[in-house]
Symmetry: C2
Subunit: 227 residues, 2 copies
Protein backbone atom coordinates (compact mmCIF):
# COMPACT_ATOMS: atom_id res chain seq x y z
CA UNK A 1 0.00 0.00 0.00
CA UNK A 2 1.14 3.51 -0.80
CA UNK A 3 -0.32 6.31 1.27
CA UNK A 4 -0.38 10.07 0.78
CA UNK A 5 -1.59 13.03 2.77
CA UNK A 6 -3.67 14.22 -0.18
CA UNK A 7 -5.56 12.21 -2.77
CA UNK A 8 -3.57 11.48 -5.94
CA UNK A 9 -4.80 10.87 -9.43
CA UNK A 10 -3.32 8.01 -11.42
CA UNK A 11 -1.32 8.98 -14.49
CA UNK A 12 -1.27 6.94 -17.68
CA UNK A 13 0.02 7.32 -21.20
CA UNK A 14 -1.87 6.45 -24.38
CA UNK A 15 -0.39 6.25 -27.84
CA UNK A 16 -2.04 7.08 -31.12
CA UNK A 17 0.28 5.46 -33.63
CA UNK A 18 -0.36 6.18 -37.29
CA UNK A 19 0.74 4.18 -40.27
CA UNK A 20 0.09 4.71 -43.97
CA UNK A 21 -0.93 1.77 -46.14
CA UNK A 22 -0.42 3.59 -49.41
CA UNK A 23 -3.96 4.82 -49.54
CA UNK A 24 -5.32 5.52 -46.07
CA UNK A 25 -4.07 6.35 -42.62
CA UNK A 26 -4.25 3.54 -40.12
CA UNK A 27 -4.23 3.52 -36.34
CA UNK A 28 -2.86 0.85 -34.07
CA UNK A 29 -5.43 -0.45 -31.59
CA UNK A 30 -5.48 -3.20 -29.00
CA UNK A 31 -8.38 -5.20 -27.65
CA UNK A 32 -8.88 -4.83 -23.94
CA UNK A 33 -8.57 -8.06 -21.98
CA UNK A 34 -9.91 -6.78 -18.69
CA UNK A 35 -12.72 -4.69 -17.32
CA UNK A 36 -13.71 -1.96 -17.72
CA UNK A 37 -14.50 -2.02 -21.43
CA UNK A 38 -13.34 -5.63 -21.70
CA UNK A 39 -13.33 -6.71 -25.35
CA UNK A 40 -13.50 -3.15 -26.64
CA UNK A 41 -10.85 -1.59 -28.79
CA UNK A 42 -8.54 0.90 -27.12
CA UNK A 43 -5.31 2.79 -27.57
CA UNK A 44 -2.23 1.03 -26.29
CA UNK A 45 -1.14 2.56 -23.01
CA UNK A 46 -0.89 2.12 -19.27
CA UNK A 47 0.17 3.46 -15.92
CA UNK A 48 3.29 5.52 -15.38
CA UNK A 49 5.79 3.93 -13.03
CA UNK A 50 7.60 5.91 -10.39
CA UNK A 51 11.05 5.29 -11.76
CA UNK A 52 10.37 6.14 -15.42
CA UNK A 53 9.67 9.42 -17.16
CA UNK A 54 6.30 9.87 -18.81
CA UNK A 55 7.96 9.68 -22.22
CA UNK A 56 9.61 6.39 -21.30
CA UNK A 57 6.30 5.03 -20.11
CA UNK A 58 4.71 5.68 -23.48
CA UNK A 59 7.45 3.77 -25.28
CA UNK A 60 7.39 0.91 -22.79
CA UNK A 61 3.65 0.42 -22.84
CA UNK A 62 3.62 0.52 -26.60
CA UNK A 63 6.30 -2.13 -26.79
CA UNK A 64 4.65 -4.33 -24.18
CA UNK A 65 1.19 -4.17 -25.68
CA UNK A 66 1.97 -4.18 -29.37
CA UNK A 67 5.58 -5.28 -29.76
CA UNK A 68 6.24 -2.06 -31.61
CA UNK A 69 9.13 0.37 -31.24
CA UNK A 70 8.46 3.70 -32.92
CA UNK A 71 11.12 6.23 -33.73
CA UNK A 72 8.85 9.22 -34.06
CA UNK A 73 6.82 9.64 -30.89
CA UNK A 74 5.83 12.88 -29.27
CA UNK A 75 3.40 14.01 -26.67
CA UNK A 76 0.49 16.03 -28.02
CA UNK A 77 -2.09 16.54 -25.28
CA UNK A 78 -2.99 15.58 -21.75
CA UNK A 79 -6.56 14.56 -21.01
CA UNK A 80 -7.60 15.34 -17.49
CA UNK A 81 -11.35 15.66 -17.15
CA UNK A 82 -12.84 14.17 -14.01
CA UNK A 83 -14.94 11.23 -15.12
CA UNK A 84 -12.92 9.75 -17.93
CA UNK A 85 -12.15 6.47 -16.14
CA UNK A 86 -14.81 4.71 -14.06
CA UNK A 87 -12.30 3.11 -11.70
CA UNK A 88 -10.49 6.08 -10.25
CA UNK A 89 -9.33 9.52 -11.26
CA UNK A 90 -6.99 8.95 -14.21
CA UNK A 91 -5.12 11.62 -16.10
CA UNK A 92 -3.60 10.46 -19.37
CA UNK A 93 -0.78 11.94 -21.37
CA UNK A 94 -1.44 11.18 -25.02
CA UNK A 95 1.30 10.56 -27.58
CA UNK A 96 1.33 10.71 -31.34
CA UNK A 97 3.50 8.15 -33.09
CA UNK A 98 4.43 7.62 -36.74
CA UNK A 99 5.77 4.42 -38.21
CA UNK A 100 6.66 3.03 -41.61
CA UNK A 101 4.02 0.33 -41.97
CA UNK A 102 6.14 -1.70 -44.36
CA UNK A 103 8.68 -2.29 -41.60
CA UNK A 104 6.26 -3.50 -38.97
CA UNK A 105 3.43 -5.53 -40.43
CA UNK A 106 3.97 -8.87 -38.78
CA UNK A 107 6.27 -7.31 -36.21
CA UNK A 108 3.53 -6.78 -33.65
CA UNK A 109 3.70 -9.88 -31.56
CA UNK A 110 0.76 -9.00 -29.37
CA UNK A 111 -2.01 -10.90 -31.08
CA UNK A 112 -4.61 -8.37 -30.06
CA UNK A 113 -2.91 -5.40 -31.73
CA UNK A 114 -4.12 -4.46 -35.20
CA UNK A 115 -4.08 -1.61 -37.68
CA UNK A 116 -7.46 -0.01 -38.31
CA UNK A 117 -8.23 2.33 -41.19
CA UNK A 118 -8.96 5.81 -39.90
CA UNK A 119 -12.28 5.99 -41.68
CA UNK A 120 -13.53 2.70 -40.29
CA UNK A 121 -12.67 2.88 -36.64
CA UNK A 122 -14.65 0.75 -34.21
CA UNK A 123 -16.13 2.18 -31.02
CA UNK A 124 -13.34 2.85 -28.59
CA UNK A 125 -13.09 2.47 -24.84
CA UNK A 126 -12.99 5.44 -22.45
CA UNK A 127 -12.58 8.77 -24.25
CA UNK A 128 -10.21 7.26 -26.76
CA UNK A 129 -12.24 8.39 -29.76
CA UNK A 130 -11.77 11.92 -28.61
CA UNK A 131 -8.06 11.31 -28.20
CA UNK A 132 -7.73 9.95 -31.72
CA UNK A 133 -9.58 12.95 -33.11
CA UNK A 134 -7.23 15.27 -31.27
CA UNK A 135 -4.26 13.34 -32.62
CA UNK A 136 -5.43 13.81 -36.19
CA UNK A 137 -5.87 17.52 -35.61
CA UNK A 138 -2.42 17.72 -34.11
CA UNK A 139 -0.90 15.85 -37.01
CA UNK A 140 -2.52 18.25 -39.46
CA UNK A 141 -0.82 21.11 -37.69
CA UNK A 142 2.48 19.29 -37.67
CA UNK A 143 2.46 18.56 -41.34
CA UNK A 144 2.83 22.25 -42.11
CA UNK A 145 6.13 22.40 -40.28
CA UNK A 146 7.59 18.93 -40.46
CA UNK A 147 8.07 16.65 -43.42
CA UNK A 148 6.00 13.88 -41.92
CA UNK A 149 6.21 11.69 -44.98
CA UNK A 150 9.73 10.97 -43.84
CA UNK A 151 8.42 8.81 -41.04
CA UNK A 152 5.38 7.26 -42.66
CA UNK A 153 6.68 6.21 -46.07
CA UNK A 154 9.24 3.52 -46.82
CA UNK A 155 12.79 4.73 -47.41
CA UNK A 156 12.22 4.82 -51.13
CA UNK A 157 8.99 6.08 -52.60
CA UNK A 158 7.41 7.79 -55.56
CA UNK A 159 6.04 11.29 -55.58
CA UNK A 160 2.58 9.88 -56.17
CA UNK A 161 2.82 8.02 -52.88
CA UNK A 162 3.91 11.14 -51.09
CA UNK A 163 1.09 13.10 -52.63
CA UNK A 164 -1.45 10.50 -51.64
CA UNK A 165 -0.15 10.66 -48.08
CA UNK A 166 -0.61 14.41 -47.94
CA UNK A 167 -4.06 14.07 -49.37
CA UNK A 168 -5.00 11.47 -46.78
CA UNK A 169 -3.72 13.53 -43.88
CA UNK A 170 -5.15 16.84 -44.97
CA UNK A 171 -8.28 15.55 -46.64
CA UNK A 172 -7.80 17.52 -49.83
CA UNK A 173 -6.59 16.86 -53.38
CA UNK A 174 -3.68 18.36 -55.24
CA UNK A 175 -2.76 18.81 -58.85
CA UNK A 176 -0.07 16.26 -59.56
CA UNK A 177 2.18 18.53 -61.57
CA UNK A 178 2.04 21.40 -59.11
CA UNK A 179 2.61 19.08 -56.21
CA UNK A 180 5.68 17.50 -57.78
CA UNK A 181 7.15 20.84 -58.66
CA UNK A 182 6.73 22.15 -55.16
CA UNK A 183 8.24 19.12 -53.51
CA UNK A 184 11.20 19.05 -55.82
CA UNK A 185 11.90 22.73 -55.36
CA UNK A 186 12.15 22.20 -51.62
CA UNK A 187 15.10 19.93 -52.21
CA UNK A 188 14.02 17.57 -49.46
CA UNK A 189 14.01 14.55 -51.72
CA UNK A 190 16.71 13.20 -53.98
CA UNK A 191 16.18 10.88 -56.94
CA UNK A 192 17.25 7.27 -56.64
CA UNK A 193 18.02 4.83 -59.43
CA UNK A 194 15.24 2.53 -60.46
CA UNK A 195 11.52 2.80 -60.91
CA UNK A 196 8.60 1.63 -58.89
CA UNK A 197 5.48 0.13 -60.34
CA UNK A 198 2.19 0.62 -58.68
CA UNK A 199 0.82 -2.89 -59.06
CA UNK A 200 -2.28 -1.85 -60.93
CA UNK A 201 -0.50 -1.54 -64.22
CA UNK A 202 0.64 1.70 -65.71
CA UNK A 203 4.07 3.15 -66.17
CA UNK A 204 6.38 2.79 -63.15
CA UNK A 205 7.37 6.06 -61.53
CA UNK A 206 10.72 7.54 -60.60
CA UNK A 207 11.88 6.71 -57.09
CA UNK A 208 13.01 9.20 -54.47
CA UNK A 209 14.41 9.18 -50.98
CA UNK A 210 14.28 11.85 -48.29
CA UNK A 211 17.50 13.75 -47.82
CA UNK A 212 18.15 13.45 -44.10
CA UNK A 213 20.83 16.11 -43.92
CA UNK A 214 18.64 18.66 -45.58
CA UNK A 215 15.70 17.62 -43.44
CA UNK A 216 17.65 18.40 -40.28
CA UNK A 217 18.70 21.77 -41.69
CA UNK A 218 15.12 22.68 -42.32
CA UNK A 219 13.94 21.46 -38.96
CA UNK A 220 16.47 23.63 -37.21
CA UNK A 221 15.56 26.73 -39.16
CA UNK A 222 11.88 26.45 -38.32
CA UNK A 223 10.88 25.62 -41.84
CA UNK A 224 7.42 25.51 -43.33
CA UNK A 225 6.04 22.88 -45.64
CA UNK A 226 2.68 23.87 -46.96
CA UNK A 227 0.10 23.28 -49.63
Amino acid sequence: MYCYEYPHAAVTTDCVVFGFDGWRLRVLLVERGIEPFKGWHALPGGFVRMEESVDDCARRELREETGLTVEWLRQFHTFGSVGRDPRERVITVAYLGLVKLANVTGGDDAASAAWHAMDELPRLAFDHSEIVAAAVASMRQDIHFHPIGFDLLPREFTLAQLQRLYEAVLGVEFDRRNFDRKILKLGLVTPVDGRLSRGQGGRPAAVYRFDEARYREFKQAGFRLEF
Copy 2:
Protein backbone atom coordinates in the same frame (compact mmCIF):
# COMPACT_ATOMS: atom_id res chain seq x y z
CA MET B 1 -4.50 9.62 4.50
CA TYR B 2 -5.21 8.31 1.03
CA CYS B 3 -3.89 4.89 0.16
CA TYR B 4 -3.43 3.10 -3.16
CA GLU B 5 -2.29 -0.32 -4.23
CA TYR B 6 0.30 1.19 -6.53
CA PRO B 7 2.42 4.32 -6.04
CA HIS B 8 0.93 7.47 -7.55
CA ALA B 9 2.65 10.56 -8.83
CA ALA B 10 1.29 13.95 -7.87
CA VAL B 11 -0.12 16.06 -10.71
CA THR B 12 0.17 19.83 -10.83
CA THR B 13 -0.49 22.59 -13.33
CA ASP B 14 1.82 25.51 -14.09
CA CYS B 15 0.89 28.56 -16.12
CA VAL B 16 3.12 30.59 -18.37
CA VAL B 17 1.12 33.77 -18.84
CA PHE B 18 2.38 36.27 -21.39
CA GLY B 19 1.64 39.96 -21.59
CA PHE B 20 2.92 42.58 -24.03
CA ASP B 21 4.05 45.94 -22.70
CA GLY B 22 4.19 47.60 -26.08
CA TRP B 23 7.78 46.66 -26.65
CA ARG B 24 8.62 43.33 -25.04
CA LEU B 25 6.92 40.16 -23.97
CA ARG B 26 6.47 39.76 -20.25
CA VAL B 27 5.84 36.71 -18.10
CA LEU B 28 3.92 36.52 -14.85
CA LEU B 29 5.95 35.04 -12.01
CA VAL B 30 5.34 34.54 -8.30
CA GLU B 31 7.82 34.36 -5.48
CA ARG B 32 7.78 31.09 -3.59
CA GLY B 33 6.89 31.41 0.08
CA ILE B 34 7.78 27.87 1.11
CA GLU B 35 10.49 25.32 0.61
CA PRO B 36 11.74 23.96 -1.66
CA PHE B 37 13.12 26.95 -3.59
CA LYS B 38 11.73 29.35 -0.99
CA GLY B 39 12.23 32.93 -2.15
CA TRP B 40 12.87 31.89 -5.76
CA HIS B 41 10.72 32.96 -8.65
CA ALA B 42 8.38 30.37 -10.09
CA LEU B 43 5.44 29.92 -12.39
CA PRO B 44 2.04 30.16 -10.73
CA GLY B 45 0.56 26.71 -10.30
CA GLY B 46 -0.32 23.95 -7.89
CA PHE B 47 -1.80 20.54 -7.27
CA VAL B 48 -4.79 19.18 -9.13
CA ARG B 49 -7.76 18.39 -6.91
CA MET B 50 -9.80 15.25 -7.34
CA GLU B 51 -13.02 17.02 -8.16
CA GLU B 52 -11.69 19.43 -10.80
CA SER B 53 -10.46 18.91 -14.32
CA VAL B 54 -6.84 19.69 -15.07
CA ASP B 55 -7.95 22.72 -17.07
CA ASP B 56 -9.98 24.00 -14.15
CA CYS B 57 -7.02 23.54 -11.87
CA ALA B 58 -4.86 25.78 -14.02
CA ARG B 59 -7.43 28.57 -13.92
CA ARG B 60 -8.00 28.20 -10.19
CA GLU B 61 -4.34 28.20 -9.23
CA LEU B 62 -3.70 31.18 -11.42
CA ARG B 63 -6.51 33.11 -9.79
CA GLU B 64 -5.48 32.11 -6.29
CA GLU B 65 -1.83 32.94 -6.71
CA THR B 66 -2.00 36.01 -8.90
CA GLY B 67 -5.58 37.29 -8.79
CA LEU B 68 -5.67 36.99 -12.55
CA THR B 69 -8.38 35.56 -14.77
CA VAL B 70 -7.19 34.93 -18.31
CA GLU B 71 -9.49 34.36 -21.23
CA TRP B 72 -6.97 32.69 -23.47
CA LEU B 73 -5.44 29.71 -21.73
CA ARG B 74 -4.46 26.42 -23.27
CA GLN B 75 -2.39 23.45 -22.37
CA PHE B 76 0.85 23.13 -24.30
CA HIS B 77 2.98 20.39 -22.75
CA THR B 78 3.24 18.01 -19.84
CA PHE B 79 6.55 17.70 -18.04
CA GLY B 80 7.08 14.31 -16.51
CA SER B 81 10.73 13.53 -15.98
CA VAL B 82 11.55 11.71 -12.79
CA GLY B 83 13.59 14.11 -10.69
CA ARG B 84 11.91 17.43 -11.39
CA ASP B 85 10.59 17.94 -7.85
CA PRO B 86 12.74 17.04 -4.84
CA ARG B 87 9.76 16.25 -2.60
CA GLU B 88 7.98 13.52 -4.51
CA ARG B 89 7.28 12.44 -8.03
CA VAL B 90 5.41 15.36 -9.60
CA ILE B 91 4.10 15.52 -13.14
CA THR B 92 3.04 18.97 -14.26
CA VAL B 93 0.71 19.98 -17.05
CA ALA B 94 1.88 23.35 -18.38
CA TYR B 95 -0.45 26.01 -19.74
CA LEU B 96 0.12 28.97 -21.98
CA GLY B 97 -1.93 32.07 -21.22
CA LEU B 98 -2.29 35.39 -22.99
CA VAL B 99 -3.63 38.57 -21.41
CA LYS B 100 -4.04 42.19 -22.33
CA LEU B 101 -1.60 43.82 -19.92
CA ALA B 102 -3.46 47.11 -19.93
CA ASN B 103 -6.46 45.44 -18.31
CA VAL B 104 -4.62 43.77 -15.47
CA THR B 105 -1.78 45.88 -14.17
CA GLY B 106 -2.81 46.51 -10.61
CA GLY B 107 -5.34 43.70 -10.78
CA ASP B 108 -3.01 41.09 -9.39
CA ASP B 109 -3.81 41.14 -5.70
CA ALA B 110 -1.16 38.64 -4.77
CA ALA B 111 1.66 40.92 -3.76
CA SER B 112 4.26 38.43 -4.85
CA ALA B 113 3.08 38.23 -8.47
CA ALA B 114 4.92 40.40 -10.98
CA TRP B 115 5.52 40.75 -14.70
CA HIS B 116 9.05 40.06 -15.84
CA ALA B 117 10.47 40.97 -19.23
CA MET B 118 11.24 37.85 -21.22
CA ASP B 119 14.83 38.89 -21.86
CA GLU B 120 15.59 39.57 -18.19
CA LEU B 121 14.13 36.58 -16.41
CA PRO B 122 15.52 35.70 -12.98
CA ARG B 123 16.57 32.16 -12.13
CA LEU B 124 13.52 30.02 -11.73
CA ALA B 125 12.61 27.21 -9.37
CA PHE B 126 12.36 23.57 -10.45
CA ASP B 127 12.53 23.13 -14.23
CA HIS B 128 10.48 26.25 -14.81
CA SER B 129 13.04 27.87 -17.09
CA GLU B 130 12.68 24.94 -19.38
CA ILE B 131 8.91 25.27 -19.22
CA VAL B 132 9.03 28.95 -20.15
CA ALA B 133 11.33 28.19 -23.07
CA ALA B 134 8.90 25.56 -24.31
CA ALA B 135 6.04 28.02 -23.96
CA VAL B 136 7.80 30.56 -26.16
CA ALA B 137 8.43 27.92 -28.78
CA SER B 138 4.81 26.87 -28.64
CA MET B 139 3.63 30.44 -29.01
CA ARG B 140 5.80 30.91 -32.08
CA GLN B 141 4.05 27.97 -33.66
CA ASP B 142 0.65 29.29 -32.67
CA ILE B 143 1.20 32.68 -34.15
CA HIS B 144 1.22 31.19 -37.63
CA PHE B 145 -2.31 29.92 -37.22
CA HIS B 146 -3.99 32.18 -34.72
CA PRO B 147 -4.17 35.95 -34.62
CA ILE B 148 -2.57 36.16 -31.22
CA GLY B 149 -2.45 39.93 -31.17
CA PHE B 150 -6.16 39.73 -30.47
CA ASP B 151 -5.45 38.57 -26.95
CA LEU B 152 -2.31 40.50 -26.14
CA LEU B 153 -3.10 43.99 -27.38
CA PRO B 154 -5.68 46.40 -25.96
CA ARG B 155 -9.01 46.50 -27.77
CA GLU B 156 -7.85 49.43 -29.86
CA PHE B 157 -4.36 49.59 -31.25
CA THR B 158 -2.24 50.88 -34.07
CA LEU B 159 -0.66 48.76 -36.75
CA ALA B 160 2.76 49.74 -35.44
CA GLN B 161 1.90 48.14 -32.10
CA LEU B 162 0.73 44.98 -33.81
CA GLN B 163 3.88 44.86 -35.87
CA ARG B 164 6.06 45.34 -32.82
CA LEU B 165 4.25 42.46 -31.13
CA TYR B 166 4.92 40.13 -34.03
CA GLU B 167 8.53 41.19 -34.09
CA ALA B 168 8.87 40.54 -30.36
CA VAL B 169 7.33 37.10 -30.57
CA LEU B 170 9.13 35.93 -33.69
CA GLY B 171 12.38 37.77 -33.14
CA VAL B 172 12.51 39.27 -36.62
CA GLU B 173 11.81 42.62 -38.27
CA PHE B 174 9.32 43.53 -40.95
CA ASP B 175 8.99 46.29 -43.49
CA ARG B 176 6.29 48.58 -42.18
CA ARG B 177 4.51 49.11 -45.48
CA ASN B 178 4.44 45.47 -46.44
CA PHE B 179 3.30 44.47 -42.99
CA ASP B 180 0.43 46.95 -43.01
CA ARG B 181 -0.71 45.88 -46.42
CA LYS B 182 -0.74 42.23 -45.48
CA ILE B 183 -2.66 42.77 -42.28
CA LEU B 184 -5.24 44.97 -43.94
CA LYS B 185 -5.77 42.54 -46.78
CA LEU B 186 -6.60 39.82 -44.28
CA GLY B 187 -9.56 41.87 -43.17
CA LEU B 188 -9.07 40.90 -39.56
CA VAL B 189 -8.90 44.48 -38.36
CA THR B 190 -11.31 47.33 -38.91
CA PRO B 191 -10.46 51.00 -38.58
CA VAL B 192 -11.81 52.94 -35.64
CA ASP B 193 -12.28 56.69 -35.29
CA GLY B 194 -9.52 58.56 -33.58
CA ARG B 195 -5.77 58.46 -33.54
CA LEU B 196 -3.26 57.22 -31.05
CA SER B 197 -0.04 58.96 -30.24
CA ARG B 198 3.00 57.04 -29.29
CA GLY B 199 4.19 59.20 -26.41
CA GLN B 200 7.59 59.89 -27.90
CA GLY B 201 6.33 62.57 -30.22
CA GLY B 202 5.60 62.01 -33.85
CA ARG B 203 2.40 61.84 -35.76
CA PRO B 204 -0.36 59.84 -34.09
CA ALA B 205 -1.39 56.73 -36.00
CA ALA B 206 -4.74 55.45 -37.15
CA VAL B 207 -6.48 53.16 -34.68
CA TYR B 208 -7.83 49.69 -35.39
CA ARG B 209 -9.75 46.99 -33.64
CA PHE B 210 -9.89 43.25 -34.29
CA ASP B 211 -13.01 42.05 -36.04
CA GLU B 212 -14.24 39.25 -33.78
CA ALA B 213 -16.73 37.80 -36.23
CA ARG B 214 -14.11 37.52 -38.93
CA TYR B 215 -11.62 36.12 -36.44
CA ARG B 216 -13.96 33.28 -35.57
CA GLU B 217 -14.54 32.55 -39.25
CA PHE B 218 -10.83 32.26 -39.83
CA LYS B 219 -10.26 30.15 -36.77
CA GLN B 220 -12.88 27.66 -37.91
CA ALA B 221 -11.45 27.36 -41.39
CA GLY B 222 -7.99 26.51 -40.11
CA PHE B 223 -6.54 29.74 -41.32
CA ARG B 224 -2.91 30.72 -41.60
CA LEU B 225 -1.41 34.01 -40.60
CA GLU B 226 2.19 34.20 -41.71
CA PHE B 227 5.11 36.43 -42.48
